[in-house]
C-alpha cells in the first residue's frame, strides 16, 4: 500500500520530462518548419550554451549556492579569445588559456564565498559586473569573426543531414560525466548533504569549503568553455556575448526541479528543463514572437518552476496520506 503510493508520488523531474515530450510532439504536429532536421539542429545548437552551463550550475544549486557571473565569464573568455587571436596567437594555445582564465574566475568566486563567508548571490552579482567590465576593457567594441574555418564549422555544423550538431556529441560526454559525478559518487552525495544542511555535513566530516571551491572553479571552467563555443558557433567574439544567459540557465535548472534552497533535484530534470526552455524559444521564434515577449515567457516559466515542485510535493504528500490512511 505505502509502496504503491510512493511509486505514484508526483516527481517534478518526471513531470518536466513528460512536458518536454508533449511540447516536442505538439510542435512536430502543429508548428510549421519545426520538424525538419535543420531547424532541430538549430534548436539544439542554440540551446547548447545553456545546457553546458546548466551542468555545473545544477551541482552548485544542489549544494545551496549559485553563480550569476557565468554569462560574464563566458563573455570574458570570448573577448580574450578575440583579443589574443588579433595578436596572432594560434587558436590551439588560445583555447586552453581561456579555459584557465575561466577556472580562475570561478576560483575567485569560490574563494570570496568560502574564505570570506559571503553569500554567493551577492559575490557573483559583483563579479557579474566585474568580469563583463574587464571583457569590455580587453576587446572594446570590436567584433572578432575570422577564426579558423574548421573550428567554426565544428561549432556550427551538423553531422551530415541529421539534426545532430557536432558539438552535441562532446556535450553528451560531459552530461554523462556530470550525471555520474552528482548521482553516483561520494562527492555528489556530499553536495546533497551540504545543500540540505551544511552544519550536519560538516559534522559528518565532509569538507564543505573544499567541495564548494571545486564546484565554483568547475563552473567557471564550464562557463569559459561555453564562451569559446559561443564565439565559434556564432562566429563572433564580442565583449557582450552571452549577456543575460545566466537567467536562462537558472530558469531552466529551477524549471527542472532543482530546489533553490539546495539539497534536492536530479540532473536529468535540469537538462529536461533546459531543452524544454530551448524548444519553447525555438517555437516562439518560428512563430515570430518578439524577443521581448520571449523574455516574458522565460520570466513566467521561472516563477512556475519555483512553484511547480512545491505544489507537486504537496500533492504527493497528500496522496500518500490518503492512500495509506
Amino acid at each position: 500500500m505505502a509502496d504503491s503510493s510512493l511509486a505514484r508520488a508526483v516527481r517534478w523531474d518526471t513531470v518536466v520530462g513528460a512536458l518536454l515530450i508533449v511540447v516536442l510532439l505538439l510542435s512536430f504536429g502543429f508548428v510549421d518548419g519545426f520538424g525538419n532536421a535543420l531547424n532541430l539542429s538549430f534548436l539544439i545548437g542554440n540551446t547548447l550554451p545553456i545546457a553546458l552551463i546548466a551542468l555545473p550550475m545544477t551541482l552548485l544549486v544542489v549544494s545551496g549556492e549559485i553563480d550569476l557571473s557565468v554569462a560574464s565569464t563566458a563573455g570574458l573568455s570570448g573577448a580574450v579569445m578575440g583579443a589574443l587571436w588579433n595578436q596572432g596567437m594560434t587558436i590551439e594555445t588560445i583555447i586552453p588559456l581561456c579555459l584557465l582564465l575561466g577556472a580562475v574566475c570561478g576560483l575567485i568566486n569560490g574563494l570570496l564565498v568560502t574564505r570570506l563567508g559571503l553569500p554567493s548571490l551577492a559575490v557573483t552579482i559583483g563579479t557579474l559586473a566585474a568580469y563583463r567590465g574587464i571583457a569590455q576593457i580587453v576587446l572594446g567594441s570590436d567584433a572578432v569573426t575570422d577564426f579558423p574555418t574548421q573550428y567554426l564549422d565544428f561549432a556550427a555544423g551538423r553531422i551530415g543531414d541529421t539534426f545532430i550538431p557536432y558539438a552535441f556529441l562532446p556535450f553528451l560526454v560531459l552530461l554523462a560525466i556530470a550525471v555520474v559525478v552528482l548521482h553516483a559518487t561520494p562527492f555528489g552525495r556530499s553536495l546533497f548533504a551540504i545543500g540540505a544542511s551544511e552544519e550536519a555535513a560538516r559534522f559528518a566530516g565532509i569538507r564543505v569549503k573544499r567541495q564548494k571551491l571545486i564546484l565554483f572553479t568547475m563552473t567557471g571552467l564550464m562557463a569559459s568553455l561555453t564562451g569559446v563555443f559561443w564565439a565559434l558557433h556564432y562566429a563572433s567574439a564580442r565583449y557582450d556575448n552571452a549577456t543575460g544567459l545566466e537567467l536562462a540557465v537558472i530558469a531552466a535548472v529551477l524549471l527542472g526541479g532543482i530546489d533553490f534552497d539546495g539539497g534536492k533535484g536530479t540532473l536529468g530534470g535540469a537538462i529536461a528543463g533546459v531543452f524544454l526552455l530551448g524548444a519553447l524559444q525555438n517555437v516562439m521564434s518560428l512563430q515570430d514572437v518578439s524577443a521581448q515577449s520571449q523574455i516574458v515567457v522565460t520570466g513566467v516559466l521561472l516563477v512556475l518552476s519555483v512553484l511547480g515542485p512545491r505544489v507537486a510535493r504537496q500533492i504527493s504528500v497528500a496522496r500518500a496520506a490518503r492512500s495509506a490512511g
Binding site: M1, A184, T185, R189, A193, F203, A324, G325
Partner: protein
C-alpha cells in the same frame, strides 16, 4: 486504572478516544487522557509510542483523525497552536523551535512584547521580564544574546521560560529535562511545584524515570500508540512503570563490563579556546569509558567540538593513537579513527530531509565506494545493519529521518557513527531522549565497544548514567577541568561538588 473524576475536581483538558495516523503508521489509537488542576501528570512510553503525537494533538498542531479534545469538559477543536495557547495551554515541544536570529528575549516574548507609546517595543521591559524568568529558573543567560549558537540545554531553558511566561492553566512539557543537569532540573521542578500549588495542570514527559517519581502524581502509559494505563504513582516502583511501558522486565540499565585499560588512544594536552575553555588536558585509554560531567555551560560540548575539529582551538594539541590531529579538520579526525556523536541531532547529527539510509551512509562516503563510485548495495546493507542493531523503529529505510520519533532519530545518529568503527568515540548526550529499554541497549553497546578496545569519552547530563558507566569521571567547571574522580570515589555528591566549583582537585 483509577477513577476520580466523580469525586475530585473535573479535568481542565482531556482527550477522549483519540486516534491519529501518519500514512501507514498508527501513532495513536483510541487514547484517552485527563489532566486535572493541581496535578502533575506523567506520560510514559517507549520511543515512538506516540507521546509527542499526543501532545501535538492537545496543542492543536495535529487534528485527531477520530476522537475529541475536551476543554473544561466541552468538546473543542483547536485549529492551530494559537487556539490552544489562547485557551491557556502552554507547550514545550521536544525539539526547540527558536528563531536563530532573534534574541532570547524576543524569542520568549515573540509578538507579545511590552509596548511603549506609539506601539514601539519596550526593550528594557522585555529584557527585565526575561531576566526575571531566568532568575526563576536559576540560570544566567543574556536576554540580548541571539538564539543562534545556544547549546541544546540553553535552548531548552529558553523554551521553558517562554512557556512559563504565558501563566498558563495547562503546562505541557515534552522531555524538557533531556539535556539538563541535576541542578537545572531541580530549579525547573521548583517552578513546576509552585505552578501546581497555584492550580495549574501539568503534563510531563521524561525518559528519566526517577524524575517522573519526583515530580508527578499520576502517570499514563502508552505502548505502540495504544493506551495501557492511567494510575496514581503512589506505591508504584520504577520496575512497575517499566513493565507497563515495555511489556516485560528490563535488563540491567548500566551493564558495565570491567575492562583492563590499554594504551592511550586519545590524548588532549593543554587545549584552549579563548573565552570558552582553558588548559584542558586529559587522556582516554583503549577500553576505558571516561565520563565528562559538569553543569550546562561548563564547556564540555565545546571541548568535544574542538577535539573533533568542527571548532578550532587556539592552543594545545590533540593526539589519536600518538598521531597529532590537524586543528579544525573533522575529516582528518575521522580518518584517524575519531567519531563524535553531537548533542544537537536535528542541526548537527542528521540531515533531516534525507533518508535514514543516506544519513547513516554519510559517514561511509570514504568506505562504501567501489572504483570511485558509491557502492549502493554496500551502503544499504551497512545502513540496514546498524539501524537493526540499534533497533531503530522505522517504516522504510528510505524514509526521511524527519518522520522518526525523537528517540529514534537519536538512534540513527548513533548508528551513523558506530558504523565507522571508531577507535575513539566521543558521545555528547548519547541517550538524550532515548527510552529506558534502548538506553540499557546503548549502554550495553558502549560497554561492548570499550571491551573491544574502543576509547569512549562520554558527555552526559544524566549523572546516574555517568556514574553507572564511567571508569573515571572528569568534571568541568567554567571552562576548566576541576576534578578527575576514579569510579570508586565517584558519587553524586563528589561530582556535583566539583561541577559547582565547591571543591578543587
Amino acid at each position: 486504572m483509577t477513577q476520580r473524576s466523580d469525586t475530585g475536581p473535573s479535568p481542565v483538558l482531556a482527550l477522549k478516544d483519540v486516534s491519529k495516523s501518519f500514512g501507514a503508521v498508527r501513532a495513536l489509537r483510541d487514547v484517552s487522557l485527563e489532566l486535572f488542576p493541581g496535578e502533575v501528570h506523567a506520560l510514559a512510553g517507549e520511543n515512538g509510542a506516540g507521546k509527542s503525537t499526543l501532545i501535538k494533538t492537545l496543542a492543536g498542531v495535529h487534528r485527531p483523525d477520530a476522537g475529541q479534545v475536551l476543554l473544561d469538559g466541552e468538546p473543542t477543536v483547536f485549529h492551530g497552536p494559537a487556539d490552544a495557547r489562547d485557551a491557556g495551554i502552554a507547550v514545550i515541544y521536544q525539539e526547540p523551535t527558536l528563531f536563530p536570529d532573534l534574541s532570547i528575549a524576543e524569542n520568549i516574548f515573540m509578538g507579545r512584547q511590552p509596548r511603549r507609546a506609539l506601539g514601539r517595543i519596550d526593550h528594557k521591559a522585555t529584557n527585565a521580564a526575561t531576566l526575571a524568568l531566568m532568575q526563576r529558573l536559576g540560570v544566567e543567560l543574556d536576554p540580548d544574546r541571539p538564539a543562534r549558537g545556544l547549546s541544546i540545554a540553553d535552548q531548552q531553558i529558553v523554551e521553558i521560560a517562554k512557556a512559563l511566561s504565558f501563566d498558563a492553566r495547562v503546562l505541557i512539557m515534552d522531555e524538557p529535562t533531556a539535556a539538563l543537569t541535576g541542578s537545572e532540573v531541580a530549579r525547573l521542578f521548583g517552578v513546576v511545584r509552585t505552578l501546581r500549588e497555584q492550580g495549574a495542570a501539568v503534563l510531563f514527559i521524561s525518559h528519566r524515570l526517577e524524575e517522573i517519581f519526583q515530580i508527578c502524581q499520576r502517570v499514563t502509559t502508552l505502548r505502540d500508540g495504544a493506551w495501557i494505563s492511567s494510575e496514581l504513582l503512589d506505591g508504584m516502583t520504577e520496575d512497575d512503570l517499566v513493565r507497563r511501558m515495555v511489556g516485560r522486565d528490563l535488563d540491567e540499565l548500566y551493564p558495565k563490563q570491567e575492562v583492563q585499560a590499554g594504551e592511550v588512544a586519545l590524548s588532549v594536552r593543554r587545549l584552549t579556546r579563548e573565552g570558552v575553555f582553558t588548559d584542558v588536558s586529559f587522556e582516554v585509554r583503549r577500553g576505558e569509558i571516561v565520563g565528562l560531567a559538569g553543569l550546562v555551560g561548563a564547556g564540555r560540548t565545546e571541548v568535544a567540538r574542538a577535539v573533533f575539529g568542527v571548532d578550532r582551538w587556539d592552543a594545545g594539541e590533540v593526539e589519536v593513537d600518538g598521531k597529532a590531529l590537524t586543528n579544525g579538520a573533522p575529516s582528518t579526525a575521522m580518518a584517524a579513527g575519531l567519531a563524535l556523536v553531537p548533542e544537537d541531532r536535528r542541526a548537527q547529527g542528521l540531515v533531516m530531509d534525507m533518508s535514514i539510509e543516506r544519513n547513516i551512509g554519510l559517514t561511509g562516503l570514504r568506505t562504501t565506494v567501489k572504483a570511485g563510485l558509491m557502492n549502493r548495495g554496500a551502503e544499504r546493507s551497512r545502513s540496514l545493519d546498524w539501524a537493526v542493531k540499534l533497533q531503530v523503529k522505522y517504516a522504510r529505510i528510505a524514509d526521511a529521518v524527519s518522520t522518526l520519533s525523537g528517540g529514534n532519530q537519536q538512534k540513527v545518529v548513533l548508528a551513523k557513527w558506530l558504523a565507522t568503527g571508531p577507535k575513539v568515540l566521543i558521545v555528547d548526550e548519547p541517550t538524550r531522549g532515548i527510552d529506558v529499554g534502548t538506553k540499557a541497549e546503548v549502554h550495553r553497546l558502549l560497554s561492548q565497544l570499550a571491551a573491544d578496545g574502543v576509547a569512549v569519552l562520554m558527555i552526559s547530563s544524566d549523572l546516574p548514567e555517568v556514574l553507572g558507566m564511567a571508569d573515571r569521571v572528569l568534571v568541568m567547571h567554567e571552562g576548566r577541568l576541576t576534578a578527575e574522580i576514579p569510579r570508586s570515589e565517584a558519587t553524586e555528591e563528589s561530582v556535583m561538588a566539583a561541577a559547582t566549583g565547591r571543591a578543587a582537585a
